[in-house]
Symmetry: C2
Subunit: 257 residues, 2 copies
């Protein structure tokens, strides 16, 4: 099995190295990851700048491709250039330093990289570990790969497989189990903190975003993860609101006066 | 009607000014837009940098808030701070310099800003004009506002209204009509162009992305726009693959050995 591994925390991130080590017992892993941290870049791609790419030694001595771009750029560069003649069977993105559940899925560079893999018809998995003071990436990598093992064991032909896996905080206890669940969509409670720079110019920091503003769906990824479960959410990338398509068509929109 | 207007081409972009002028005949428009061009930044937000915000004069003499951040940041800052006490009834993002159809919807900062508005329960519209040598933004703004008029005339309570509107190239002819249609999801034909910098270091440019790699859905936004129609696609932001949720649950994934 050929595996493309990327992330959004940058090629030097411990979450990537832990996942690489675990994946390496399953297949041939090629690391193509951003040179610098790219948290919350969403599905950004570099259209106005070229991508520089350098083969470097990672902290564990293995080689990897460091790309001066976004997570989704790394997947494009891997599939179109670096792995062109030996296409991966699987794209894995992570392990992210912090959960990617609820609406944060849309802000996540980690998930965007997996979606990019799915654009190209490669089964893809995004993996994240809930934030805590001590991040247990090695144990998280073991858990993520348990899910990956079972996912890749499914009958082939399912090229659009796209999974978002989140591992709960492992610093206090083992996960309570695994849940296949929906992405939570209610808004989060967010704030802007206002400060002034040394010249008196105001600036603002976004904060919050982890706690739902309203009642949360107990079956959702956000609540299940907070309850201590490993969550697995199958994703898709068609943003069409199919349920509303007919209603809007019935508006009889026109361009005339 | 209070309207928040933003974009991803930056606050000085002609597409924003044209749309502002047209929207101003319908309501009270507040412009909060990125200080610099932000094409293809997707749903990036600034979590590691603070947002600076400056009130400036736009080219047409009207005031606007210039934000040193991403399109989605602009919407957050507007809703949480700048318009906190006079929440907008509508968020409009655009007019983008170039279409946002098919998979490009996910790369688009223009669309992300509208999705951000929908996160906050504000009806939102993303608007884009297909690229041509001469961009007819004024005429495009008139067409976009025809759709906006009819959308806001719908019974209220539909807080999750989220529309992606694309206007075809107007430099040759009038639009052939209007189509309510799906987002196209087949992959586009992309390439990486390889060059070398003056020191011989290789670099890569992403190119393509506008032409579907395979057979295109004739009912999709991509094909309808190319055929000369104004396209309207209702969007949603739940990436859960509901159809696959049961199938993955049936895998009986486990964490044990």
């Amino acid at each position: 099995m050929r595996i493309l591994l990327t992330n959004d925390d940058g090629i030097m991130a411990p979450g990537l190295l832990a996942l690489r080590a675990e994946l390496a017992t399953r297949g041939d892993v090629t690391v193509v990851a951003p040179a610098t941290p790219q948290s919350a870049v969403g599905h950004a791609i570099s259209v106005s700048q070229p991508l520089f790419c350098q083969e470097i030694d990672l902290a564990d001595g293995v080689r990897g491709f460091s790309v001066d771009g976004r997570p989704a750029d790394c997947v494009k560069l891997a599939l179109l250039v670096l792995m062109k003649d030996r296409k991966p069977d699987l794209v894995v993105s992570g392990i992210n330093h912090g959960a990617n559940v609820g609406i944060n899925v849309l802000y996540s560079g980690t998930v965007a990289a997996a979606i990019e893999g799915a654009f190209y018809g490669v089964p893809s998995v995004a993996a994240s570990l809930a934030f805590s003071q001590s991040m247990h990436f090695r144990e998280a990598a073991r858990l993520v790969c348990r899910v990956v093992d079972q996912a890749v064991a499914r009958p082939r032909g399912d090229k659009s497989m796209l999974l978002n896996v989140n591992v709960p905080d492992l610093s206090q206890r083992e996960p309570r189990g695994l849940r296949v669940c929906r992405m939570s969509i209610p808004p989060s409670r967010e704030e802007m903190i206002r400060r002034a720079d040394p010249r008196g110019r105001p600036y603002f920091w976004i904060t919050g975003g982890e706690v739902p503003a309203g009642p949360a769906d107990p079956e959702s990824d956000q609540v299940s993860l907070a309850d201590g479960y490993v969550t697995v959410t199958p994703l898709q990338f068609d943003l069409t609101d199919a349920a509303r398509l007919k209603a809007v068509a019935a508006w009889n929109l026109s361009l005339g006066e």
